[in-house]
Amino acid sequence: MVLCTEPFKVTARNIAGVLGLPDYPFLLVQHPIGSCTLPELKARAEVAYRQALPILLQD
């Protein structure tokens, strides 16, 4: 599961395509992460978790 922030969505899609998986699903969260407080990280984690569930189970 690859997590990235919104501004890097296009980068992630590009590299996925080059590596042969153009539809690879990423976990997308709000930017930035580096300067986040713990509550902000937890909120982003919840968003990522909800996106991850159907991907892992390929629902």
């Binding site: 990235c4 080059v18 590596l19 976990l27 986040c36 990280l41």
Partner: protein, 92 residues
Amino acid sequence: MQLYAPTSTTPKRKAFRAPALASLQGTRIGILENGKLNAEEMLGEVAQLFVQRHGCTVRTLASKSNASAPAPGNILVKVAQEVDFLLTGLGD
């Protein structure tokens, strides 16, 4: 006029996704953090939600010494053998 294309002629790659998990219950999670600020913390928080809600375990935490270089092959091989899915990050 004939112009050469300035692009690479390396053949396009093909890859495939790992098969779906039948269930998340008790699965083993790996974390590969890229050394960026809060990367380990962010991925750790995501992993903890799986631990709390599905009884998953965090089996391994690996680190890339260089955020912008691919993870060394030996790290990926080792981690792949020990976990059911891996959490990692891309970009900042």
